[in-house]
């Protein structure tokens, strides 16, 4: 990875931590065990922790569990080589024992790739359900465990009504469990219920994070999500296609904000509580496509096909995070898009 890109990410971490470092004080001199440690979320947690150690002498060490550490060494060699990060090659489902000096756990193992959800539904479900189960079993035996942050999903709220309000943590979402696309959110709901059961029975200090949508460095454009398609098509000067009317509202958080919010939840979140993690700043798909086209400087045509009347809104209400933990979004949608586009251009990941 070229140093320019590393510098970009460091600048993002610096911005996310500016005037907020003291909010993570509890994580100093701690050992954090992270499942899914080399995925998108895990990589950003490692970046921000590295910055905390280098700039603010946090002396926090990470154990990053991953099924494919070779790919990680290729993706982020500057992180893989660090002494404060240890890579553990293991599938989350095979965890038997967690090192006894671990004091915090972040459970981020699961893929949000909806193609995998339908092609390998049993594997996806097993990673989430069995993975969470064995992790919680092992965590019970840790003498100094202070907190587990279970990364759930905003998808557990199910399908949103047309024009519905921002989604609060108390929203009772409805999911039709008898359909292949529910495999991921239903497994995530089960994992949340498991955390609740371990908290109730063994007082395992489990906090739930429900992430929504993110865009930025360490992502790839191959997933068939609207924002990925828009950026990819703009970067290639292809037509940006919107099947519906362009009116559905979505929101996107920049990953340095995400990483800071997650560490803050790990440090100060209340066990037994679920928190939305995402940007409350909504944007219509039409406006999103126009902004992306503008920021790329693309010649792409935006083709709104009007083949459905979808006006759904998938935007988190983050009042709980803001009021109880003082969390705010530092990178707005314009900067999020501009930095993401720059990343994809610099890395050559334009497809």
């Amino acid at each position: 990875m070229v140093s320019k890109l590393i510098d970009l990410v460091k600048a993002d971490c610096e911005e996310a931590l500016a005037s907020s470092v003291s909010q993570l004080e509890k994580l100093k001199n701690q050992k954090i065990f992270i499942t899914g440690g080399t995925g998108f979320v895990g990589t950003w947690l490692a970046e921000i922790t590295a910055f905390l150690n280098d700039r603010y002498h946090f002396n926090t060490s990470l154990l990053l569990l991953s099924r494919n550490i070779d790919a990680y060494r290729e993706k982020a060699p500057h992180l893989a080589a660090r002494k404060d990060m240890e890579l553990i090659p293991m599938d989350v489902r095979n965890i038997v024992e967690i090192p006894s000096d671990v004091t915090y756990i972040i459970h981020a193992a699961a893929t949000p790739d909806n193609r995998q959800h339908v092609s390998d539904p049993l594997g996806v479900m097993a990673t989430i359900t069995k993975g969470t189960s064995v992790l919680l079993d092992s965590s019970v035996k840790l003498p100094g465990l202070k907190k587990i942050l279970n990364i759930s999903s905003g998808q557990i709220y199910g399908k949103q009504g047309q024009g519905s309000e921002a989604i609060k943590e108390t929203f009772m979402g409805a999911i039709d469990c008898n359909t292949i696309t529910s495999v991921y959110p239903e497994a995530k709901r089960y994992a949340e219920a498991l955390c609740c059961a371990y908290w109730s029975l063994y007082k395992v200090p489990a906090v739930i994070a429900r992430p929504f949508a993110f865009i930025g460095p360490y992502q790839f454009l191959d997933k068939p999500w609207a924002i990925n398609n828009f950026i990819r098509d703009a970067l290639n000067n292809n037509t940006i296609r919107i099947i519906g009317n362009g009116l559905p509202m979505r929101s996107y958080m920049y990953p340095s904000d995400m990483a800071f919010w997650l560490l803050r939840l790990l440090a100060e979140g209340n066990p037994g509580t679920a928190y939305n993690v995402g940007s409350p700043e909504g944007i219509s798909l039409k406006d999103l496509a126009e902004k992306i086209k503008q920021f790329v400087g693309a010649k792409s045509k935006i083709d709104i096909k009007n083949m459905n009347e979808d006006r759904s809104r998938i935007i988190p209400d983050v009042t709980l995070c803001r009021e109880s933990l003082g969390l705010t979004v530092k990178v707005g949608i314009d900067k999020t898009l501009q930095r993401s586009i720059l990343w994809f251009q610099e890395t050559g990941h334009t497809r």
């Binding site: 092609s119 359909t179 296609r241 099947i243 009007n306 083949m307 497809r351």
Partner: protein, 340 residues
Amino acid sequence: MKNVIISDSTLRDGSHAISHKLTKEHITAYAKAADAAGIPIVEVGHGNGLGASSLQVGLSLLDDRTMLETARKNLTKSKLGIHVIPGFATIKKDLTMAFELGVDVVRLACHCTEADITERHISFARERGKEVFGVLMMSHMAPKEVLLDEALKMQSYGAEGLIIMDSAGAYLPGDVQSRITHLVSHLNIPVGFHAHNNLGMSIANSVAAVEAGAQIIDASAKGFGAGAGNAQLEVLVAVFEKMGYKTNIDLYKALDAADIVEKEIMDAAPSIKSVSIVSGLAGVFSAFAKHVAIAAKEYNVDPRDIFFELGKRKVVAGQEDIIVEVALALSDKKKRGQHG
């Protein structure tokens, strides 16, 4: 006024009807005419799609490159579409070449219970900025619940539309209405329908599909397609216009394009032959007709018996070799009957 997108399969499904012997002149003449008529999507290629030319399903007179290059030169407004069945078409050899030649729309097809095999092809096509529709062939063989499950997979892989094919011409309007309604109410992407005319239902079934919410309808000029043919494009344009649906196709010019097919391309106008009725009733792939006729003649058995036996065995496209096996078995049974 609601829009219906007509996807023209004349130069692809029609290829079956002339044993994949489309010439450059055929493609040039029809593509020009279709383009002038404002037909939104014009599919071109071997009847079984990209990369399918083979001894197994029939050798194409022209290679894929020549067919696509010829069509591309003559399509200025209409999008150039291809039918792609993973297995026949590979990403590296076929899709990459097709994209270099300027294909716009990729119709990613599989047997109606095998959507899993389309993931990589759909992803690749989307990554290259192509418009991608998922296509479930032989859809009469699966109940609507299974079709939806497979359709959801294609939607998750990135398909921007989902088309069910009545490859055997086996549906009645009620069957179409039930399936399309179920898909439309559960998918986030537009739904389409591809008819065959074995039971004389292709127009009625296409109308039923649109009334149930389908927004993409496949059709062929003069019904030029496998077996008893497809829904006749120019008839559908007229019918949809009368029903108040907008196709954005110039009817007169569509009629002119159909005349070209009749005079210059097809050997004979599609008709509902007795084997077509039987294959529709038996639920067997329409494009088997020629292979069945050959086997029936060679082994001196009734082609209708072959179709019913194939229907019992639930064969699907790509299993053409079973036709000979069935013909042999029927012939053997006949001989033993004579001697026993």
